[in-house]
Symmetry: C2
Subunit: 269 residues, 2 copies
């Protein structure tokens, strides 16, 4: 019975099977842990008139905005990172923003589709977290079964047209020794955020209270651990909302697009 499906049933399923369930409305929960080992992506959909500025913003800020695929204008079909996938139906939940404000949260955007929509799929830290776990580096928010803590920094992104704003980072606590290994491991994944942007003193990048993240949930920092910060895919979303486009659609937090590409494909070493 589909109503009884849980994450364990879907962890080992192929991405196309999971996307089929999502398309039929049989799975509307977060995608973390589904189709284990396959890359998941953030989504931003914008009208074409913003597409050049947004593409340029991503080009100028590749660490927080690692583009995996940009669809042709008006085309909802994914071409490069998945087969037989439709961007309008194949994510479990979407957020619709109008003039920069959250307007709706829905599981299918077919009725909202416009001929001038351009869809951007952006790399996500799920990919490198798998590699961290395989290297015995703790990922605290997975241990605590909550969302990763994310913070606005004082590091400005390079602006492009109407888009600008601070870099948003995610934080994972670990020992110095683990941090050194984590730098090595994540350096192999430049297309999914790559190496950290900072570690240690959070004040240096404008973060004043690690227990009160701007997005996501707080996690425990144990004795002997330091915070390690990675550029985060929330950065481009925040820049889009700040520019108040008449309409923008994104994935709902944690409800990502599951590609057909294995995480390991994005490792350059």
């Amino acid at each position: 019975m589909e109503g009884m499906m849980d994450i364990l049933d879907l962890a080992g399923k192929r991405p196309s099977e999971v996307r089929n369930l999502i398309r039929r409305g049989s799975w509307t929960q977060p995608t973390s842990g589904l189709s284990n080992g396959y890359t998941q992506a953030n989504l931003v959909i914008l009208p074409e008139k913003y597409a050049y500025d947004f593409l340029l913003f991503c080009q100028r800020n590749p660490k927080p905005c690692p583009l995996l695929e940009v669809l042709d204008t008006g085309d909802p079909i994914i071409k490069l990172t998945a087969e037989h996938a439709d961007i309008r139906t194949d994510l479990p939940k979407y957020r619709v923003y109008r003039n920069g404000l959250l307007n709706d949260e829905i599981t299918d955007i077919t009725s909202l589709w416009q001929e001038d929509f351009v869809s951007f799929l952006i790399g996500c830290s799920f990919s490198f977290e798998q590699a961290l776990l395989e290297n015995d580096i703790p990922v605290r928010q997975i241990e605590q079964q909550c969302n990763v803590p994310m913070f606005r920094t004082n590091i400005p992104c390079k602006s492009a047209g109407v888009f600008e704003g601070p870099m948003v980072v995610s934080m994972r606590p670990m020992t110095e020794k683990q941090a050194i290994r984590a730098i090595q491991v994540t350096s192999r994944f430049p297309s999914v955020h790559g190496a950290p942007v900072h570690f240690g003193n959070p004040e240096k990048i404008g973060i004043h209270d690690l227990l009160h993240p701007d997005f996501g949930d707080p996690v425990i920092i144990r004795d002997g651990e330091i915070p390690v910060f990675w550029a985060c895919g929330v950065t481009p979303q925040a820049a889009v909302m700040a520019s108040k486009p008449e309409i923008a659609i994104t994935h709902a937090p944690g409800h990502m697009f599951i590609t057909d590409q294995k995480d390991t494909v994005f490792s350059i070493l």
Copy 2:
């Protein structure tokens, strides 16, 4: 006396000094070997109406088209990769194409500048060749003091709007052992073409005669050596010319833009 300057005088000079000489018209020769250790870039200038398609073409084909910087529309001043540099005067020689055909070769494009021009700086294999040499891997065209041999392949680029075409590759001959090391060394430089795309049998990628390159000069392949092929920055230029824009400006072959960034900065490991 400036007329007596040769490449040896300029190998150790800072990029800003060399760019000043170029701007004054005191150096109109190729830039290979100038400001040793600093990254040089390919240039493509297009009217704004082609800029989105070209940016998307580069995003979809990052190995042959590694973008280092895209200037704002109409702005000739480099912001990120160099200080106090002007794209109109700071390359020693430019090529002007009209409707896809070479129309002129000039040393200053100030009089041709248009308010709708967008300038793209694209990574170049000079950066990783330095790393190859430091690892005792031969770079035959440097030994032979000629241009690197380049070939059209049967590998299609992913098209974007009006831009499409085959990948162009550069070829360097070496032993298998050197090829293994070369794969390691160039993998560190994903933003300047990265690892090779092929080695060995040239027929497999549609190359029928290694002694007759489509661009550049032939080089000797010694006994015991195999050809190793890297994606080449001529790829985006070839795609632009095939689309016959009313005007496009590029660097003249070998006459590159010298950035303020050291090659080593582009190494991710």
